[in-house]
């Protein structure tokens, strides 16, 4: 068998198995839709921004600038501190959450733009309001705890997370899931069509006969039990005859 498939053959194969390809794609998309909408729990996110800035009376620009550097370096430490059980257990206590510091840690991400004194506490939760509460509570507790922990008072909460009226879940990304499943379904369908065509050793067209036999085709005989079609044609003719 030839290893290569002509492009025109490929189109023919795809056309012949169009229904199969569409069916698999539709099934794949519907599965993804059902899973995205009914199976996966939607995850909501909330962001609280925290500014790290030492209140400084000194007007010396050099000192101010070195202070900023120090603050920037502190952020790395704060990242760890925020996710520490010390803070998180207090958050759980205050919000009366049914959770452990370990699981809560996984819900929290600290986002920090390079060389920025602002960092963001990003919280994911199945409940939109809870995500907002956790995010804000972490910021507040962190702010109140940090002077005792580090003897510095340079934490300001820049913006609190707010609960929007119609929270949109960040995860799952339904459109993305459906899109990906559509593409995967399409690929599986095309692959299957080509596979079926390759495994099918039957003669399917006049071209096949000419290709493999090199014998002229002297006739085509349609299936004789296509009674409906022929009788319909016959009826039409007999109507004409009657007129």
């Amino acid at each position: 068998m030839e290893a290569t498939i002509k492009l025109s053959d490929l189109f023919k194969i795809l056309k012949a198995h169009l229904f199969l390809i569409i069916a698999i794609t539709v099934v794949s998309v519907s599965i993804a839709t059902i899973i995205s909408y009914f199976v996966l729990t939607p995850i909501y996110t909330a962001d609280t921004q925290i500014l790290v800035n030492q209140k400084s009376d000194k007007k010396d620009p050099y000192v101010a600038s070195s202070q900023i550097d120090a603050d920037l370096q502190m952020i790395n430490t704060y990242n760890v501190v925020i996710k520490s059980p010390l803070i998180l257990s207090k958050v759980i206590e205050k919000l009366d959450l049914n959770s452990t510091p370990e699981t809560l840690t996984n819900q929290i991400t600290i986002l920090n733009t390079n060389n920025s004194q602002v960092f963001t506490v990003h919280v994911e939760d199945a409940k939109a309001s809870q995500a907002v509460d956790i995010s804000n509570t972490i910021a507040e507790i962190f702010k109140s705890e940090i002077p005792t922990l580090m003897k510095v008072d340079n934490i300001n909460i820049l913006s609190y997370a707010k609960l929007s009226e119609h929270p949109i879940p960040a995860k799952p990304n339904k459109l993305l899931n459906i899109g990906i499943s559509g593409i995967i379904g399409l690929m599986i369908g095309i692959g299957l069509a080509i596979l079926i065509e390759t495994l099918d050793t039957r003669i399917k067209s006049e071209q096949d006969v000419e290709d493999i036999l090199d014998i002229p085709i002297i006739g085509l005989v349609s299936p004789i039990n296509i009674d409906k079609k022929t009788s319909r044609l016959k009826r039409q003719t007999s109507n004409i005859d009657a007129v």
Partner: protein, 233 residues
């Protein structure tokens, strides 16, 4: 595995369908058989075409149905046609034409009967049928015998065209023997069940017996979507 063939419908229906060139001579299929008739007539130019073998690679591709219908369309053209059921393993021609199969080809080949006595007339003018006769234990030997040669000479003189319906090529050698003796061979290929490999092997065995292959008839080919169909009155 994907393409298991549906079981055949009832026998009565099959009988009705078999001779479509008689039962529905205006149908597209009848027209297709007339096209085949034309193509067969023009496929041989240098010698007279007297004997045609109809065979296929595997059983059930429509040899008998095609042989019968080709015989009918040639008879309708005004030729004196004889169809011989050379399938002495699983004969069907007498079913198709609803004729008794008491005496037939096998009787002639064992020299128990003469050709003239076993040929039966059909309801179609100019169409005669020789059924298989009782099933012999050695069909291949009978077909290869000298008596067969003699039979061929007789029928070639008496009829304009003799069509042999034979067993399939791949399982038994009968068709190969006959194809060597006939002027032309037609290979039936059923598009639903014929495998490329089988058809290739069938062609090879025909080449080995130095058969003159007139061409292929593609059976069960779907009607083209925009097929031409016109009616003259």
């Amino acid at each position: 595995m994907f393409y298991s063939k549906k079981p055949k419908k009832g026998k009565q229906l099959k009988l009705e369908r078999n001779l479509v060139t008689i039962s529905d001579s205006k149908s597209i299929i009848s027209e297709q058989f007339r096209t085949i008739r034309t193509n067969i007539t023009f496929s041989v130019t240098d010698q007279e075409l007297k004997t045609i073998l109809v065979t296929s690679s595997i059983p059930g591709e429509g040899k008998s149905t095609n042989a019968a219908n080709i015989g009918v369309v040639f008879a309708q053209e005004g030729k004196k046609v004889l169809i011989i059921d050379a399938d002495m393993r699983r004969p069907t021609l007498h079913h198709t034409f609803r004729l008794p199969n008491i005496d037939g080809l096998s009787n002639v080949l064992v020299r128990k009967q003469t050709v003239q006595k076993v040929v039966q007339e059909t309801s179609i003018v100019g169409l005669y049928v020789m059924t298989s006769g009782p099933l012999p234990p050695n069909p291949s030997e009978l077909l290869a015998s000298k008596t067969m040669e003699a039979l061929l000479r007789i029928v070639e003189q008496e009829y304009d065209l003799v069509i042999f319906d034979s067993p399939p090529l791949l399982p038994v050698t009968d068709a190969q023997i006959l194809s060597h003796k006939c002027n032309g061979t037609i290979l039936i290929v059923d598009m639903n069940i014929a495998k490329k490999e089988d058809v290739k092997k069938a062609k090879l065995s025909l080449n080995n017996s130095q058969a003159k292959i007139l061409g292929v008839i593609l059976n069960n080919s779907a009607l083209p979507r925009n097929h031409y169909h016109y009616q003259y009155k």
